[in-house]
Amino acid sequence: MKQDLRNLIEGGLTPEEVLSRDTPVRRSIEIKGKITSDVIEEISKIKNEPDWMRRFRLRNLELFNKLPAPNWLPNWVLESINLEEYLTYAKPDVNRASSWDEIPPEIRSYYESANIPEIEARALLGLGAQLDSEIIYFNIKKQLAEKGVVVMPMEEAVQKYPDLIKQYFMKIFPPEHKFAALHGALWSGGVFVYVPPGVRIEAPIEAFFLISNAGEGQFEHTLVIADKGSYIHYIEGCSAPRLSRYSFHDGMVELYAHEGARIRFTTVQNWSKNVINFNNKRAIAEGNAKVEWVEASIGSVASFVYPSTILKGEGAGTEITGITIANGNRHVKENGAKVIHDAPNTYSKIVNKSISANGGTAVYKGVVYVRKGAKYVKSHVACDSLILDDKSKAYTIPHEQVFEDTAVVTHEAYTGRISEDKLFYLRSRGLSEEEAKGLVVLGFISDVTEGLPFEYAMVLNRVISLEFSKYGKVA
């Protein structure tokens, strides 16, 4: 169980097989059943929270109960989210550590098999690792503290920086739909980051999220505040072993880029095929700030993620890049984008690439909104879909709501298939059918993966090759 991800990929195993295990992680606390105010009170008490956060959670529970189920979800997904059957809070029986040696080997091996400690040592300035509901590993390099950068588990930030948390927490993404409200009531874990004015963090900070058991909900909250003229690249990775029943992820990411700041936020989501994934992601960009989202949606059976940016200040910009793989019967992968142009001279670029195979459905849903008076806005949306067989589908649903004559908003879409003749041509160059498909798929996404940090582009390429080498064998 100690081989690294790469070796295993080359050996033809999926990440699910890498992480699969028979013995579940022991928990010191588990909460399950109907989500009542008592449940909320209990979670708040476990976390020893201030009263304002307890009340905040209760208000969100009230909203959750009032709001209707979203009408944009397929029925089978809604039916699978039977919350009373899920663990809503699961605290692993392990103390938080800042050294991998202090993490029990059976838990450490999860992270080692995903190569996390090695990537941390080589490429990261900070790493937080969450197992189920709690951060169990947290380590930040000294140079960050010396620059005044604050990076800590979210619960700790609630205690230490209540004013900042009150100012931003779920203010960027308010509880405007049922599952956002549920997140507000049950949130647990996640990371808080504050970058002081003018500070540039050259190496990325990463958070890695793991769900260890079936029938579990994970509700981590990530908040990144980049003060004026600062720069940060934050990476999140998600994984889970093969599970016997569905688990449910309902996380939230809020980013605030103050004037002239730049935030890059990269997600490599590789949940196993039993995870239903929601991630509520929104950013606000002040004048001349820039927010870049990369959402690589590889795993999970159903995923609904729409990274959004509100361009609030003049000259602000955003790039939202999506890579979606819908590989498997009934798989529904929505990977969209939303941009609100709320100021003049703002710009946005949305690039979305999806691959569907084996009966999977990939969906791009996007909104570009330009407010009247937001003059000289520029926006470009490009959606490319690659469909690998007749059973699979790709939908592109772009909405453009432009209320300003000076705006230049453009959209382009491309749909490609791998025809028998295309395969034959590549095979006549010596490539096997699966190698040919792999090459087409990797080529298709190359212009987006080439923009990723090397480590991640490599891991992503391998994960994708693997996903489709399996496909080749099936076909």
Binding site: L386, G416, S419, E420, D421, K422, F424, Y425, L426, R427, S428, R429, G430, L431, S432, E433, E435, G438, L439, V440, V441, L442, G443, F444, N461, S465
Partner: protein, 249 residues
């Protein structure tokens, strides 16, 4: 010394017989020219030898050094040492030409497909691109994506040059090329022959054959070989046309 032998090959497509009882052979360093009017079955013959699943071998075999290729997959045939340059290759916009060539050469040398191109290949590519009359910019474009007819031909020949197969089957390497192009491609193919590759090529014009000097010329009509000889056959066809040529036979 390699030898490709086609023995009594009969081929159907969608139930219709296109090639009937065709036999020929070609050895390393030889050039076999296959002539014949449009629709005579030249392309079908090449597709069959390459192993396209749509082309159905009813009778006969294709042998390379006495290995029967007929039951093999297209990619296995390439690994044995035969390669086809197509008349109208399909576009693969997703894959860059350099990526395809690197993957192909990596595979032939037992490396991983996605390994970076070794320096020797990079050097050969830079040289090869120039020889066939393309530019390095073509290498970073999608395979045949937006290529003109002539550029496709040059790209196919470039791939042959990098793969150095034992036997190359080249379907109309000269059509769509300007005079300089025909000369350049002819010269490249001649070098390939001199380095030991055996070539079977189809063409409608004598020009490229003046450079390549075929060891043998075959004329195909309605799926059968109806004449066999030397360059004099080409001259006759050039002079009187296929219609009259076929009447005489």
């Amino acid at each position: 010394m390699a030898e490709l032998k086609v023995e009594n090959l009969t081929v159907s497509v969608d139930g219709k017989v296109i090639i009937e009882d065709v036999s020929f052979s070609v050895k390393s360093g030889e050039v076999l020219a296959l002539m014949g009017p449009n629709g005579s079955g030249k392309t079908t013959l090449f597709m069959t030898i390459a192993g396209h699943p749509k082309y159905n071998v009813i009778k006969g075999r294709v042998l390379l050094d006495n290995d029967d290729l007929t039951p093999l997959l297209p990619e296995e045939r390439v690994m044995k040492g035969i390669m086809v340059a197509f008349q109208t290759p399909i576009a693969v916009p997703e894959v860059r030409l350099s990526t395809l060539i690197t993957a192909m050469v990596n595979k032939m040398n037992g490396r991983k497909l996605t390994d970076p191109a070794p320096p020797s290949l990079v050097n050969n590519l830079i040289k090869g691109v120039q020889e066939v009359g393309l530019t390095p910019a073509h290498l970073s474009r999608g395979v045949n994506h937006g290529f003109s007819g002539g550029e496709m031909k040059r790209s196919e020949v470039l791939q042959l040059l990098m793969a150095k197969p034992k036997i190359a089957l080249i379907d109309e390497p000269d059509s769509g090329l300007d005079v300089d192009g025909v000369y350049a491609v002819g010269k490249v193919l001649l070098n390939l022959v001199n380095s030991g590759t055996g070539i079977v090529l189809t063409t409608h014009s004598a020009r490229i054959l003046h450079t390549l000097k075929p060891t043998k010329v075959l004329v195909l009509s309605k799926g059968r070989i109806i004449a066999e000889g030397g360059l004099e056959l080409v001259e006759e066809i050039e002079k009187i046309g296929y219609e009259n040529f076929l009447k005489v036979r």
